[in-house]
Amino acid sequence: MFFVTSTATVTINAIGQEFVTDIVTKALRAGATDAEVVFAEGDEFETLVRLGQVEQLKEAGSRALGLRVFQGLRTASTSTSDLSPEGVQQLISGAMSLVRVTSEDPFVGLPEREEFGALAVDLDLYYEDVYALPVIERIEYARRTEAAAMAADVRIQNSGGGSFDAATGRKILANSRGFVGESRRSSCSISAQPIAQLAEGGMQRDYWYSSQRSLHLLDSPEDVGQEAARRTVRRLGARRIPTQRVPLVFAPEIARSILGAIMGAINGNAVYRSSSFLAGKLGETVAGDNLTIIDDGTTPGGFGSAPFDGEGLPTRRKVVLDRGVLTSYLLNTYTARKLGLQSTGNASRGLAGSPGIGAGNFYLEPGAKTPEEIIAAIHSGLYVTDLIGHGVNIVTGDYSHGASGLWIENGELTYPVEEITVAGNLKEMLHNISVVGNDLIFRSAVACPTICIEGMTIAGE
């Protein structure tokens, strides 16, 4: 039995902006010409219920500091989970000792003062309600999600479990050029992973989830569980198919991976090194004119939204691909300077190391056709519902993944298919997306409607 409500949101010795700006000052005093400090804290709660019984219950919080120092054109960084005065001292002295070994690089440095800023509007990223439920009710969410999946079909007799997770985080970023920003975020999710089996053997599992920034926005456990069950049982009895070329319809959660590859290919770090098939292609037509991709860090409630980026620049909305023409890379300050461009407000900042690059809410604009209409128009093809592996080469655009799905015959979904690969080259795939669906739904920061791609190779029997 669980009588105690969560204590995870109680913070002892709350860290404020002053604590963070004080470290910036100390770093300057230690000899840095510029400094940037990030403080991050988070709480997490996870519970997994399997076959109706609580299997795991996890609850904890952590805090840490990251420091980036500059000395002229050199930079180095340190991080620590030790927030004591001694820990902070070690953070600074470590960075000042490391910065001596790095090279002078004319492109290194904090952004210019006029670039800093944070969005003034409330982005609706933090809801206290993710921790509002007592522990016993959180467990009940997980139990109901799994139970709905188990009850949906007699062929489901086993399960990887049902879960309820919640997390909150707070971040403070401050630097020696006067920027101080603070942001909070929350998230919660439920999921189910049922396992179905045919009488003659042949197990399959699949998964479904709902993830939101607020508890009241979650789909019902019953809806999530039933969808997980539907996705699992449709895989039962899967067979292999011969090697061939047919149109592929990528379900939204699979089509997302193509957007992920594009995101990697327009990442400033890959672009300035020319290690991307999209490097140097700004202003050129790289895809069919039915493709428009947006990166928007400013959407209220979005999973990819933030008031400021990892260097303290306001996030923004930009068209990355405009009817097939590449119109923007994703850049932070360093990569922008390397390319002679302006930062696009896409710096990401972990605790350690230099800022990386991340997208905001990154999505393909929807078309007009429903997924059903797309499938109905195909004589023979494959509806791809799962991909496994890491088969994308951003340098060459080569693409090859393990896949499973449902065979399309005369416009209808027929039998399940597995143990095949789908392969092509992204340079051609982007021109061969023949249809874009109307079903754009943000289940995470990257979202894509159903798409149909021609000309890819299925390798099978």
Binding site: K58, E104, D398
Partner: protein
């Protein structure tokens, strides 16, 4: 960062204020609502990273991460809490949180610990100072940068990096068990881009293990990795499309052992089999591979990336036979699955950090050598694929389907290795794939020390190994004919 001390217990007690009495109190608090077992996992990790990019030392970073994970096990249930504040109040509060999983009367007090006998000593502990090490590491990656650029004029980008960490752990259990370890881990990596006209290709090579800097001066030098990365990239400039469909596949020795990791390794982790969610569940004693196949998981190999003196539950690691002459022999287990399944704890309980619950994980997983000459294996194939380097892989342990991505592969035509092919994913079915192993080479090789395995969101370093083998059929995911 302090220089490492071999006396890990002393480090935790003197630097982090721990003592036997505090550990006993935390364990008693953890079992205050009942439960079968509780343990405390303290971890103190120092990590550093240096990167040379465009011939500049662009990045230098170091970090310290410390904390404690507290676990209470009650039947099949696990309660877990962690804290990065190691004060007695925070530790006791975390213990009370973890205790929520159980519901019953308090268990008897924990009194005293039996410290495990001195560790197996599978890896060295550094004694040099930090600054001297930084200079030496920089020299290593500068050498790697120079060697890669000198290899071929078509090498246009080089990134050389050195990353290492020192992880100290202390595990104390409510059964009085007590273990400590200090685990070094180092990796040198060189990544390059080759360019010829509009044609571009990448190459990457790296390695290391639980080794000190001298390993990279004597055993595997920066030039060794740099030349290998550059060779792969230049080779890929001339690659033709990979074939598509089922064909004989010959896998080279060493890193292609990732096949074993995906095809059988994950499916033989005890938790999946206890829950009967693995395609291998219930197959102990049955043929799951060709009689030529024997697969081992071994955490006791000196200096290997996947090796540990003790696992993250404080249990000694061991050599575990998974498949012997084609027959499935056993699973890799942690304490929880061992108790619930009535099998031995094989010392495979691992976790990414103090923030994570331990579970059965692989260490170094490899296939024993056979008797075939690698040259004969190639000659036996009329038309097929010869794959020698791979990127990552993935497996669906429930239906057994696994993939791994070839980053260096060639066509075999009439028994000869011919054109290099572009990246392609290979796919197979775990409980079936190894039945098609018809030849096993006499050239067992372990990988260079680059593997990181992900499971349920947790990453841990692992090793793989394999001799040259021939699979009579496997599906190759290219685009060619």
């Amino acid at each position: 960062m302090q220089p490492a001390s071999p006396d890990t217990r002393k480090f935790f007690y003197e630097h982090l204020g721990l003592n036997d009495r505090l550990l006993e109190r935390c364990l008693a608090e953890a079992l205050s609502a009942g439960g079968d077992y509780a343990d405390l996992y303290f971890e103190y990790v120092t990590a550093s990273s240096l990167v040379v990019d465009e011939s500049l030392v662009k990045s230098a970073s170091q970090g310290i991460s410390a904390g404690c994970g507290l676990r209470v096990v009650s039947g099949e249930r696990t309660g877990y809490a962690y804290t990065d504040d190691l004060s007695p109040e925070r530790l006791l509060r975390a213990a009370r949180t973890a205790a929520l999983i159980a519901s019953g009367p308090s268990k008897q007090q924990v009194q005293g610990f039996r410290e495990a006998p001195p560790s197996a000593g599978l890896y060295p502990v550094a004694t040099t100072g930090f600054d001297a090490e930084t200079a030496a590491k920089l020299e290593l990656i500068q050498r790697g940068n120079r060697a890669a650029r000198a290899y071929d004029a078509r090498i246009v980008q080089v990134q050389a990096s050195f990353a290492d960490e020192l992880r100290r752990i202390l595990v104390a259990g409510s059964d009085g068990s007590f273990a400590t370890d200090t685990q070094p881990l180092a990796r040198l990596n060189v990544s390059v881009i080759a360019k010829e006209g509009e044609n571009m290709a990448r190459g990457s090579s790296g390695g290391g293990g639980r080794v000190l800097l001298d390993f990279f001066l004597t055993d595997k030098t920066p030039e060794y990795f740099a030349i290998e990365a550059a060779r792969q990239a230049v080779l890929q400039l001339g690659a033709v499309p990979a074939p598509a469909g089922e064909m004989p596949v010959v896998l080279g020795p060493g890193w292609p052992g990732v096949l074993l990791h995906e095809a059988v390794g994950h499916g033989l982790e005890a938790d999946f089999n206890r829950k009967k969610t693995s395609a291998f569940a219930g197959l102990i004693g049955q043929m799951v591979a060709s009689p030529k196949v024997t697969v081992i998981d071994n955490g006791t190999m000196p200096n290997r990336r996947g090796s540990l003196n003790v696992d993250d539950e404080g249990s000694p690691t061991q050599e575990t036979v998974l498949i012997e002459n084609g027959v499935l022999k056993g699973y890799m287990s942690d304490k929880l699955s061992a108790r619930l399944m009535g099998i031995a704890d094989t010392g495979n309980g691992r976790r990414e950090s103090y923030q994570h619950i331990p579970m059965p994980r692989m260490t170094n997983t490899y296939m024993l050598a056979g008797e075939d000459d690698p040259g004969d294996i190639i000659r036996s194939v009329h038309r097929g694929l010869y794959a020698v380097n791979f990127g990552g892989g993935q497996v669906d342990i429930t239906n057994g389907k696994f993939v791994f991505s070839a980053s260096e592969a060639y066509l075999i035509e009439d028994g000869k290795i011919t054109a290099p092919v572009k990246n392609a994913t290979l796919i197979g079915n775990g409980p079936e794939a190894l039945k098609y192993v018809s030849m096993v080479g006499n050239d067992l090789k372990l990988d260079e020390g680059v593997g990181t395995c992900g499971k349920a969101g947790q990453s841990v370093p692992v090793g793989v190994g394999m001799p040259t083998i021939k699979l009579d059929k496997m599906t190759v995911g290219g685009t060619g004919n």
